[in-house]
Structures are given as C-alpha cells and as structure tokens.
C-alpha cells in the first residue's frame, strides 16, 4: 500500500535530513588519510561534473554540478575521486533505514536527502527537536557520517531550516553548524522574511533579477506584494506559488517513495546470546519498538518475521501469518517468541530482528469482539503511546525488560489497571 502523510496542520513535525557533503564524506570514511584535504568526487574526465565537494574544497569555490575542469582550475591540488555510486547507494539505504526506524513516513529526495513526517510519533515541540537530535546522533554513531536536520511545520520551511544547520566552509576550515535547526510554531515568518528571495525554491537567477526590478529583494518584500502583481510580473503559476511560499504556506504531505512493505527492527548484540532467557527480553523490546512504529504509521501487519544471525554469521528467518492484523506489542511479542522458541540459540545469537509485513491500513479498522472484553491490550498500547508522548520513549517498556537492568524501574501494577493475563482469541469462558 502506498503511504502519504497528512497535510501540514500547524504542528511541528516535518523534518528534513540532508547528509553533509555526502559522497565526499563517504569517500573520506574509507580513506581517512584524505581528511583535511580538499576532496572532489565526480566525473574526472574532461566532460565530467562535480558530484560532491568536501567543505575544504568548497572554500576554493568548488560546488556540485560545476564542470570538473573548472574545479581543477580553481583548486589544482584537490584530490579528485571518481564516484562509486553502488557504494553510495548502499550507504544511503542504511541511512534511510535509520530514518524509517523513526517513522514509516520517509520521503527520500535523493540519495542524501529526505523528508520525514514525525507527527505520528509525537509529542510537542521539544520532542520534534529531540527526534532530530536523535537522528543526527544515530547516523553519526552507526554510519560515521554527519547530517544536518531542519524541523518546521511544513516541508518547505524544514528544508530552509536545514540550510541554517549546515556546516560552512571558511578560510580556517569547515565551521560546524548547529546540526539541528528548529523553526518554532509561530516563528515561521520571522525566520523566513529576512531571507533574500533567492533562498526560495523555484527562484533562479532570472526570476531573482525580475523580482529585483520590481523592488523585491527579501522574502518579506515578496510576501507583502499583492498576488496579482506577482502573477503579472513573473507569470501566473510562479507568482501564486512564490506568494504562498513567502507566507510560509506549503500544504504538501510527506509521500513515501515506495510501497511500504514491512516495518522492522533489528539489533546486533554486544556479545552473543546463547539462551532463550537472554533472548526473550531483547525480543520483547524489539516487538515493542516495532509495535510503536506500526501505530505511529497507522498500519497493522499480518505476518510476523524474526531474523536470527548466529555467531558464524549464518542467518535465518522464520515467519508466521495471523488471521487478524497486529499492532500491539504483546501480540507481536507472543508470535515472535513462539517462532524463536523453535530455534536453538546455543551456537550463540549475534543479531536478532523482528518485522511485520503484509501491512494493512490501520486508519479504518474493524474492531473485534475480543477488544470489547474488559481493559484490552490495545487500550494498554494507547496508554503506552500517551506516556511516551509525554515522557519520552524510555519512560515505559515491556515488563520482560524490568529485571534485566535495561534501565526500567519496576513497579507493581495493580490487577485493576492492566487486567489479568488471558488466553488469546478463542479462549474459554
């Protein structure tokens, strides 16, 4: 099924992620000896163009899409590397996977850039900023690459916010940016209006020149114009479009590039786990994480798959398809554990994963009579979602983790609140 988020609704939750000098950074990662030098990636022949330039190279005026011959003239001592697109694609996929861990609503714009709609995983202003910081930290920790992140109430503003967060080239070397820039609710116009019009999407040199001839230099000038005048000056479509942008209006939703096929979570352990007792809490934690993401994306899944990689790197998957699609931590945990129980962990498990596929739209869902039996697990899940919304994702977790020193303090929960254990679906009186 295709995925489109809701249009903007004034709440903060549109996130734009842009990798910093992506191709160059990926090359530097595998050739650390080049760090600090101007590095240019792209076509190295006479007709080649620059695909990416490190911040050191940008200092010489080199930027992407510039002919390689010109780049060579600007900085003859730069290191020119041919692009390795297959490798960048792999790294990009790994980065996108991190983003999809946050929300299924990820819209990649290119290998190194994507929009996210995190309103489903939200929470208020601080949380959106915290999610942005988490994304940066994870990309750095897992990929040893930096990215810049913009957060705002729509896509257009989020992308502009990212520019504010970016590192800049300076004569003394790259100056790190803030990494994350948030445009708070209500501050959209203060952020936007002082900018020169060139910053707007769709304003090239020609349009900028024409606007300038109309006395329009800043976005604020643009916003103050009657739409008519703009339409007359630069064309009907462009005029209306720019006027909307200048007033911070952009109602495009985040649209995922592909059909969403599965949602999963997997992790490599610090040491191999050899017993079901050690694996179970890990599995429950992953089931919980996957369930939360399903609910955040308003989808349910019918097929539960576990992935197990053993110490010798042999990897197997096992799956089960259930009649009723799931989005609850407990139900997913039960299915996943039944699959895991059939495997022998004694050779040592280094990686464990849980995923849900055969996804169905959860925004319209036929309820089942089982959900009418007293306080249900789905009600418990929505309470969990609310608690996380208020206090963060580590505020509450599966009880299976409580005794395992996972940082969750254990409280005795009254029977009244959570209800006793009960047999699934076709239980007895």
């Amino acid at each position: 099924m295709s995925q489109a988020g809701r249009p903007p609704d004034g709440t903060l939750g549109f996130v734009h992620v842009d990798m910093d000098a992506f191709f160059a950074a990926v090359e530097l990662r595998r050739r650390p000896e080049l760090r600090g030098q101007p590095v240019v990636v792209g076509g190295t022949g006479d007709r080649g163009v620059v695909a990416a330039a490190s911040y050191e190279a940008r200092l010489f005026g080199i930027h992407s899409a510039m002919p390689s011959t010109r780049a060579r003239r600007l900085c003859p001592h730069a290191v020119f590397l041919p692009g390795d697109h297959a490798h960048y694609g792999e790294v990009s996929a790994a980065v996108m996977a991190i983003l999809r861990d946050v929300t299924p609503l990820v819209e990649p714009l290119s290998l190194d850039e994507a929009f996210l709609d995190v309103r489903g995983a939200l929470h208020g202003e601080d949380r959106a900023a915290a999610i942005a910081a988490e994304i940066r930290a994870r990309v750095l920790a897992e990929q040893r690459l930096t990215c810049s992140v913009g957060v705002a109430t729509n896509k257009f503003l989020a992308k502009l916010a990212t520019e504010r967060a970016k590192p800049k080239a300076s004569p003394s070397g790259p100056v790190f940016g803030s990494g994350v820039h948030v445009v708070p609710v209500g501050a959209e116009l203060d952020f936007l209006h002082p900018m020169p019009v060139r910053e707007l999407w769709g304003v090239g040199p020609a349009t900028a020149k024409r606007l300038s001839s109309m006395g329009i230099e800043t976005v604020g000038d643009l916003a103050a114009q009657p739409v008519r005048r703009l339409e007359k000056g630069i064309g009907k479509a462009a005029g209306a479009h720019l006027h909307a942008l200048a007033n911070a209006r952009d109602d495009r939703p985040v649209v995922t590039d592909q059909e969403l096929k599965s949602i999963g979570h997997e992790e490599t352990f610090a040491r191999d786990l050899c017993t079901h007792e050690d694996l179970r809490p890990q599995l429950m934690r992953m089931a919980d994480a996957v369930a939360a993401r399903l609910r955040a994306g308003s989808v349910l899944g019918r097929t539960v798959t576990i992935k197990v990689r053993f110490a010798d790197f042999s990897t197997i998957t096992r799956s089960v398809t259930v009649p009723e699609p799931l989005d609850g931590a407990r139900a997913i945990g039960i299915e996943a554990e039944a699959l895991l129980r059939r495997l022998d962990p004694t050779p040592g498990v280094r990686l464990l994963g849980v995923s849900l596929s055969q996804l169905v739209d959860g925004s319209v869902r036929q309820l089942t009579l089982d959900e009418a039996r007293g306080p249900s697990w789905s009600e418990a899940d929505s309470v969990v979602d609310e608690i996380r919304e208020k206090f963060g994702s580590s505020a509450i977790g599966p009880a299976a983790l409580a005794s395992k020193g996972e940082g969750i303090r254990r409280f005795e929960v009254g029977q009244q609140q959570w209800g006793p254990d009960r047999a699934p679906a076709s239980g007895s009186d």
Binding site: P323, V364, Q366, L369, E371, G374, S426, G427, S428, D429
Partner: protein
C-alpha cells in the same frame, strides 16, 4: 451387482443435486469422494454424497428392478440427468458402466469402484424432534455471523446449547455475534452444548422445504439431522467456543428505534458510496438518524432516515455496511432497536418485539 431402476427425471435430478452438495469440491483428497453412492433396496433408492465432514443422503421412491450399489461421478451424473428430456429415466448398471437412458438419449458413464466409498456411520444417540420451520428460521438468523475462514475452525461452527429449558444457537466470526433462543425446544440436556459446522446447518435449512419436523441425533463426534427424505450428518467441531456472555452489554445509555425495512433500504443505498472497506457512519442525535458514507476520490452519500427515534447522547458510530445489513436482514419483526455505549464498544441490534434474537456488532474504528 446389478442395480436397475426407473425414475422421473425431476425427482432423480433433485436427489442427485442435493446429495451432490456434500461432495468435495477440493480435488485430490480421495477420488471416490467425487462420486455419489446409489443404493437400491426394493423401490427405495438412497443417494449419498460425502466429503467425510459432511454427508447428505437422499432417499427417493423409484420403480426398482434389481437391488444393488454403485458409485457414479457426482457432477457428471447430475448434469446428465438434468439435461435429458422430461419423463422417465432408466438407470442400469452393467460391468463398469452405468447406462442412463431417457429417449432419445443414451449415456454410459464409467463407475467409480463402490468398495472404495467410505463406510459412514450415523450417530446413535436418542432421537429428538425439532420444529422444522422454527429451526430453519433460527439457522438463517445465525449462520451469517459464523466465520468462513478455515484457519479458525471453531468460529466456523454454530454453538447449540441447552439454555433455560430451550435451545440456544450462537455464532461469531469475532466481528459480530448472533444469538437466537428457541424457547421450549429442549433437545439437549441441561448444560449440554455442541459445535455444529455452519455449512451443515446451511445445507439442512436448504432442504427443509415444507417438512414439519427435523429429527436430531447426537453422537460423540457427530450429529445427524433427518428432514423428510433427506439426512444430513456432520462431524462436530472440537474445541471450546469463545465465551460470549460477558460481551453482551447490560447497560446501554443510547437507544435507536427504527423501522426495519426503512433502515435496511437506507443502508443499502448509502453503502454504494462506502467502497474500499470504508464504513457507513450512523450519526445519532435527538434529530434522529443520519447515514453517511464517504469514499475518497469516489464520492459521498447522506440519508436522513425517516421516523428514527433516538434517546441518548449524540453519537456517531461507523460500521462495516455488510455486517450491518446482515444483522438488519435477519432480525425478526417490523421494528428494531440499536443500543450503543460509545463509538468503540459493541452495538446491540435487537428486534423491538422478539427478545429471542440478539446481534452484537463491533464498530469500525476510524482514526
């Protein structure tokens, strides 16, 4: 083993078709089960079809010439007999063929070896009698709520349980639940309950016709129903039917009362715009009832339902239109009530006049 008789085409065609309904359509299992068994004793011809779970036998009066047993391919025999000219049909079994003659046609159909046809035992419990018309009506009121998903065998059954001196039928597919009480039909001993495949009950209801009574015999693992010349034997489903009593709310703050056919017609109309699994919404207020269906990129439908009376808080509940229609269709009487708690709790659909029928339906959650 001869087997030779003459029979009216229409009588034979109906008997072959009725027995053939139990014949397995899933190919492969046991080839002989693609056949119907014909057994002639005097002038009594018994035709039996079975898929081992369900067995249907039909006994008809024929002009018998030679007793015997033969198994004919069910579909072919049925198609042939139905196709010939009206009038008498002669069937004669010789060697490996059954000859079917109805002037001017003559067919020879290869037999299936009769000794491969399974021995089917009938339940040996005491015979009890049910009112045929009432039982048929009760089956029709509950069978739709039974599941057709073989992955959940228990829910494909209809629970028959002794209840307060009467017989109660219950079915659920986990989205809705039907309960029908047949007062005074004490065919089961108190506390006894069996889970009968809804498919068998549907076949039984089909063959009831004008008969006045149904005879029921219960065995350990199967149940046999006899109605007129037809007997339907079915395996019982093993396992525990989900507990349902606690699901039926005892306290409903909100009650809608509406003419049954008016509501049924309105929902059928509005349903046309509830496509791609979108629900029909029932908006209930002091003004009455409005039905709304909206399918993105297709359109929308609204209808204010005439003479609907609503008492309670303003409430909008969304339902799967098919499930809603199923319930309204089978509710007895001219007027029905729909009792609700809120938009996520089960709604209870009842007849305003007849307390012996309940239809509990879970809403669709729209987020």
């Amino acid at each position: 083993m001869g087997l030779k008789f003459r029979c009216e085409r229409d009588v034979l065609a109906k008997a072959l078709a009725d027995a053939g309904r139990a014949v397995t359509t899933r190919g492969g299992a046991l080839p002989v089960l693609a056949g119907v068994r014909l057994e002639l004793t005097g002038d009594q011809l018994t035709i039996t079809g079975s898929d081992l779970d369900l067995t249907i036998s039909v006994t008809v009066e024929v002009a018998g010439a030679e007793d015997g047993v033969a198994v004919l391919p069910s579909k072919l025999a049925s198609d042939v007999v139905r196709s010939v000219r009206a009038g008498a049909v002669d069937i004669t079994v010789e060697d490996d063929d059954a000859r079917i003659e109805a002037s001017p046609s003559e067919f020879a159909i290869r037999l299936i070896p009769a000794d491969e046809f399974p021995q089917l035992s009938s339940p040996d419990g005491d015979a009890v009698t049910l009112d045929a018309a009432a039982f048929k009506a009760a089956i029709e009121q509950v069978e739709k709520a039974a599941s057709s998903d073989d992955a959940r065998p228990i829910l494909t059954g209809v629970l028959m349980a002794a209840e307060e001196g009467g017989l109660r039928l219950v079915s659920t597919d986990s989205y809705r639940l039907s309960v029908r009480d047949l007062a005074g039909s004490s065919v089961l001993s108190e506390g006894q309950k069996v889970l009968v495949p809804s498919r068998a009950l549907k076949e039984l209801a089909r063959v009831v016709g004008d008969e006045e009574s149904i005879t029921l015999r219960l065995g350990e693992r199967d149940a046999g129903f006899e109605v007129g010349s037809v007997s339907v034997t079915t395996r019982l489903i093993e396992g525990e039917f989900p507990s349902y009593r606690g699901l039926i709310p005892t306290n409903h703050p909100n009650q809608l009362t509406v003419d049954r056919t008016t509501l049924l017609d309105a929902v059928r109309r509005v349903r046309l715009l509830a496509q791609e699994s979108t629900p029909v919404r029932m908006a209930m207020s002091a003004d009455g009832l409005e039905l709304v269906a909206v399918t993105q990129d297709v359109g929308q439908a609204h209808e204010a339902v005439e003479e609907a009376v609503y008492k309670g808080d303003d409430l909008t509940v969304a339902f799967n239109p098919e499930y809603l229609i199923d319930g309204i269709e089978v509710a007895p009487g001219d007027e029905i009530t729909l009792e609700t708690v809120d938009e996520l709790k089960p709604a209870l659909l009842k007849s305003a006049e007849d307390p012996n029928f309940l239809y509990l339906l879970m809403p669709v959650r729209v987020s």
